[in-house]
Structures are given as C-alpha cells and as structure tokens.
Amino acid sequence: MSAHHPAAPVGGKLLNTATLVSGLLVAAMLAILFVRFIFGLGAVTNLNDGYPWGIWVVFDVVIGSAFACGGFSVAMLVYIFNRGEYHPLVRPALLASLFGYTLAGVGVIFDLGRWWNFWHIFWPGHANPNSVMFEVALCISAYILVMWIEFSPVFLEKWGLKAEKKKLERVLFFFIALGTLLPMMHQSSLGTLLVVMGPQVNPLWQTPVVPLLYLLSAIAIGYGVVLFETCVASSAYRRQIEMHLLQPMARVMLGVLAVFVVVRFGDMIARGALGHAFAFSLEALFFWLETICFLLPFALAGRAADRRNPARLFLAGVALMLAGVLLRVNGFLIGYDTGVGVDHGWNYFPSIAEMLVTMGMFAIEVLGYIVITRRFPVLPRAEASAAH
C-alpha cells in the first residue's frame, strides 16, 4: 500500500536572485498585458491571420499544460498503478502541475480576443460539443478545480485544519480518479485540435492518431518534468536527490516513450507520410530535431548504470521536455500553413513583447514554486530523504 512520507517546508529566505529576476519578468509581463488589453492583440504580438495562434497559445497553454503533466503522471503511478513508493514525488509534482495548469487557464484569457465572453464556453446555449476546443476548455477548467482540491491537504495541514483535512481525504480518491481521467481527455484533445485544420497542417503532424500521440507524449513528459524538477530542486535547495525513486521512474518513462515512438512511426508508415520527413524543407528538419529529442532519453538513460547518474536522468528529462515542445511547436507553428498545396504567404515569429509575456508566465511558476515549497509542506522532509 502507498507509503506516505512526511513532507515539510524547506524554509529559508524568499528574496534571492531567482525570485528577483522572476519578479522583474512578471512586472514586464504585466506592463505588456496592460498595453494588450487597451490596444488589442496586434499592439504587442506578431499574430496574424496566417498564424492566429502564436506562442501564447502554443507555449503558455499547449506546452505549459503538457509540462504540467508531472502531477498527473506521478499520481497515476502512485494511485492507479499502486506504486506507493513514489508518493514523496506526488506533492511537488502536483504543485508544479497546479501552477502550470492555472497559468495555462489564465494565459488563455490574455490570448482571447473577446475574453469577456469567455463564460459562453460553459453556457448551454452557446457551448458547441462538436468543438474540440470546447472539450479542451471544459476539461482543463475542471482539472484545475480538481487539482486545487487534490492539493488542498497541503494548505489544511499548514493551517492545522485537521478535521477538514480528514473529511476531504475520505473522498479524495474520487478526485484522484477524476484527476487522472481529465488530463487524459484534454491532453489527447489538445492534439485533436489539429485535426479540423486538415490540410493546413503538414502531413508529418496531421494524423487521426494525433490524440494518442499527444496523450502518450504528455504522460512521458510528465515523468521527464519530474526528473527535471527534482534534480533542479535538489540542486537549488542542496538536498539529497531521491535517486531510488527517480531511477525506476525513468524506466517507466522510457517505457511510455517507447510506445510513443512505435505509434509515431507506425502511423507515419501506415499513412505513407514518411516521405515528407526526407523532403528538403524546414518542416523535415524540425521533424528530425523532434525525433532526435524523443530518442535521446534512450541514449542517455537506456542502461541501468546510466540511470544511476542524476546528471544523465536530468538531461534525459530535459531532452524529453524539448521533444514535447518540438512536437507541439511543429504541429501548431512550424508545420502549420505548410500542408500540401497550401501556402498563404504568411510569416510569423514571436515579438519580443510576446516572448516576455511567456517568460513572465514561467517566472510566475518559478516564483510560486519557490514561495510554496519554502513555506508549505510540499517537498519530502529532508531527513526522510537522507535516510535512504
């Protein structure tokens, strides 16, 4: 059964270089967003009708939420596959997810041209169940709610509300189940978003199995993000790394990744789209970059001996995150508008302001992670880790 390891606040100062830089980025973001809401999207972004979705959608929402799959991936491992030993990883992963998703939700508002109508998406008269976007929006909103509930024991613990915490924990299993189902639904649907775009999307990324690809890659990235986070947190807080957990989890990650690679190439061969990978084009180049990043984790952490080296696990996690970024950027930006026989002559490259907002969003995440881990019981108690 799940072994529960006590968590504790890390403590320490909140003001340091990392939080200061993050704070500055957030301030810059707020300034840019002010301009955006007064003068419109065109005032700060390079968005255009050929690329209606820029990095705010692709990075802040599509990739941001994929990076936030750590919570889902680990929770699935712990509660569904009953690998209780990973329990110490649940809270930090969930925290990162909570931030990632909440910010993805907020980030959507920045990008919505007519944001004051946002509630229409949940309104029966307006909602369109045929729309993939409807499913994604509904699901992500629900998941954010579910995650706050999943994470709330941390706050209840901190504020000493024992009775409430106990009550909540009695029904928590349902939210955990829901918290496993919802990401599966919307992570796959984030891929399905591409399907209706039909021939605009390059055949390298336009496939009916795109939901499965996005789901599998999101799960794998979830583990990759946990590897990354744990290593960075340990490095930053000078804590012992939970190698005994990361090593087997890396194996699980590679397993999911292997399934992904098989589906990816099997589908390409079945559709006869492999030829596009050998075309002399930017899309083909990015396809191979993406593929290399997906395969790198095998090279970095394929052997058991390699997995004992945290540096290799860290790099494998980073490679996988990069692969996830490329898969999504390729589908939504690089490979968009490059379908067969379609060229509308549009160009897009994010403006500095756009990039600053995206960086500001990631800065909020970093800031929030630092504040909460230093003040709330999220990371495993240091001595508990050291005991292993």
Binding site: N46, N48, G50, Y51, E85, C231, V232, S235, I241, M243, H244, Q247, P248, R251, A304, R307, R308, N309, P310, A311, F314, L315, V318, D343, H344, G345, W346, N347, Y348, F349, P350, S351, I352, M355, L356, M359
Partner: protein
C-alpha cells in the same frame, strides 16, 4: 527650322504673316501650333518647328475624295473652331479638290482635280472619306463616270501620302456592316476600306466622325517633318490612337470603385457613374476622345461626358458591329499594381531583436541546464567514489527496484 524657342519666333516676320493669314493674333497662332504639337505628342521645343513649318512651308496640296459616306467627317472638320476650318483649308493646306466645299461642279471640278494632280505630282496628299463599294465591279458609287475603285487608284498613284479619314474609309465602317439576313457574308455593296482597295497600308483616322485635330495634326506632321506620323497595325497614328478611351476616361474612378449606371436615367446615371454596364466600349476602343474630347464641340462634350456610352466608332469589329448596349471586352485587363498576387508575403518574420532575445533565452536555459547537469555529475562522481571507498568491494549496490 532649327528654332527651339517658341517665344523667339513671336516677332518673326513669317509668323506674323501666317497669323495674319489665319486671322489670328500672333499669340493665338503660336498657341494653335503648340496644341497641334501636343496632340502629336511631340517633345517640348517641337511646337516651334511646327509654327515655323506652318508659317513658312508651301501649303501642301490636298485632294479630298468622297465615296460611301454621310459627309460627317467633313462636317466635323467644318466645325473646328481653333482656328476655323476655312482658314485651315485655305491657308494651312491648299484644298484643291473637295466635292462638298467646291462651289463649282461637273467637268470644271474634275478638271481642277486633274490639274492639281498634275501640278503637285508626287507631292499632294490624298484624303479619302467614305467606304469604297467593291461588289459588282464597284458600280454602286460612280463620280464623273468613274467608279470609286478607279478614282481612288488613279488619285493614289501619284500621291505623296494617302489618308483615310473616318471609319468608312478606314475599314468600311458603317456601310460595311453585314446585315442580319440569313446567308449574308458581306454588306450589300461590298463596302471596303482604302487600304483593302489599294492593297497597301494607308494612314487611317477612324472615328465617326473623327476628331478634326487628329487629321490636322497628321497633315501638320507631314508638313513639319516631311513624313507621316508613326502608326499602329491598323494605320492609325499612334499619337492619337495608342490608348484606350477607358484609360483616360473621366468616369474611370467610378469603374475602379465599382460604381456603375445600371439603366439610363437611374440614380447612378445621374450621378455620373461609369457607363460600362450600359455598353460603353471605352475599354476596347483606342482613341483620344477622353483626352481631347469629341470634335471641337466645347468643353466637357463628348459622348461619355454627355451620359451616353462610347460606341467604339474608331475600332474595327466594335463600332457598327457590336450592339451599343452589349458589354465591352476589356482590352487593357492588365496587371493593376493594386491587385494582390495569389500569394503575398504577409506577417512579421524574425526581427533581429526578437531572434536575439530567443537566442539569449535559449542560451541561458542551455547554460543553466549544463550547470545543473555538471553539478549533478560532479556530486554523483564524488558520491560514487565515497561509496567505493566506504563499501570497498560492495560498490555495485543497486538501488533499482
């Protein structure tokens, strides 16, 4: 004849004499010559040459033949006002034979023609007005016992230049229209243009009637330079017929903006909208009516300005052939500089600043990642060494599940 400065000519005795002869002031005379030069599209300075030529040269002898026509071309010439035509035909040119204008008749006139031809052999200008019937040996038009075919051939033989004035002489014009009778392949009299009958290209000044200044400018060109002006494939002087009426039309802005009169008298028609939908042939008719207007009838008076669509009278195959209400086929559907290509480059690509920021962020991330990896690797090494020291031979303890 090398004079380039028109003002220097103002006191020239020849100019004074010519102006007196034309009953103009000297200034008016020079203005008239400038207008002719401008009509011809001559460069600046040429107006002086024109003035000199008109003033000093011997007036060219002109023989004017009439065949199947309505005398509209002559009437149009008669109504030219700047200067009046009687001055022109008597003082700018020497009109030695013209059936309408001659007071004399019969053998007397034919004798005058013969005399003029003999006196100016190889130097006179032959002007033909009206189509030439060719069916049945040309019996449908006879003057002094000679068919039109015989006459035109006889007069053209020793002419320095042949000018076909009006659409009828140019290609047959209205008389050459094939009636809508089943089986009809030509007009009842087989009306033809001058060049067809003579079997060689001639200068044509089509129009129904043509603008007198186009004719006059052609003659003055001959007078000034000793040669006829450059012509297009149909013999029309390029200075007058190289542009579509549509190109310089005063209603063109309405065409471009899609404002069309749909019916005579409708709102758009009253507002002066484009007449294209009413059948205006401006877009397929080459002439300078939209520039120098029609005839010499006064400011702003040419068919299109008056509210009637152009009928394309200067254009073979259009005027007298296409119904007036039928739609013109645009000849100048040329790439407008405003029309976008199928694929236009749009949007903003990578600016130097944006690319630099992205590169900087990527570099910083890569650097930070490398630092973390390096630290992790170092601590791992240290740990392994420590473990190896501590555990001695038991170094290979596995933590894997």
């Amino acid at each position: 004849m090398n004079e380039q400065n028109l003002l220097a000519l103002e006191d020239d005795a020849r100019i004074v004499a010519a102006a007196d002869r034309l009953a103009m002031s000297r200034r008016e005379f020079l203005q008239f010559c400038t207008a002719l030069a401008a009509t011809l599209g001559l460069p600046q300075g040429a107006e002086a040459a024109v003035a000199e030529a008109v003033a000093a040269k011997k007036r060219p002898s002109v023989i004017w033949l009439h065949f199947q026509e309505c005398t509209g071309c002559t009437e149009s010439m008669l109504r030219a006002e700047h200067p009046t035509l009687e001055k022109l035909i008597l003082d700018v040119i020497s009109l030695d034979y013209h059936e309408t204008l001659f007071a004399a008749a019969g053998h007397q006139v034919e004798a005058a023609r013969k005399t003029a031809m003999a006196e100016n052999k190889g130097q006179y200008i032959l002007v033909v007005e009206g189509a030439i019937p060719t069916k049945d040996g040309g019996v449908y038009c006879k003057i002094g016992g000679k068919t039109a075919i015989e006459l035109v051939k006889e007069c053209a033989a020793d002419a320095a230049a042949v000018i076909a004035i009006g659409s009828c002489a140019s290609w047959g014009g209205m008389p050459s229209t094939i009636p809508s009778i089943p089986g009809a392949t030509s007009s009842p009299t087989g009306s033809s243009g001058v060049s067809q009958v003579l079997g060689k290209p001639v200068v044509t000044i089509p129009g129904c009637p043509p603008n007198p200044y186009n004719f006059l400018s052609t003659v003055v060109h001959f007078l000034t330079f000793g040669s006829l002006p450059a012509v297009d494939s149909q013999g029309r002087p390029k200075f007058a017929y190289s542009r579509l009426i549509h190109e310089n039309c005063e209603r063109r802005a309405h065409f471009d903006a899609g404002r069309f009169a749909m019916q005579f008298g409708d709102d758009g028609h009253r507002k002066g909208y484009c007449l294209y939908k009413l059948g205006c042939k401006g877009p397929e008719t080459y002439a300078n009516c939209s520039v120098i207007l029609f005839g010499d009838a006064g400011a702003g008076t040419w068919p299109v300005a008056c509210g009637h669509p152009c009928i394309g009278c200067t254009e073979q195959g259009v005027g007298f052939q296409k119904p007036i209400h039928s739609l013109a086929k645009l000849k100048n559907i040329e790439p407008s500089s405003f029309l976008p290509r199928i694929v236009e480059e749009k949007g903003v690509g990578a600016s130097l600043g944006a690319a630099a920021v992205l590169a900087a962020v990527a570099g910083a991330a890569a650097g930070a990642g490398a630092m973390v990896a390096k630290n992790l690797g170092l601590s791992h090494q240290a740990e392994e060494m420590e473990k190896a020291k501590r555990d001695g031979s038991k170094a290979n303890e596995s933590a894997e599940v």
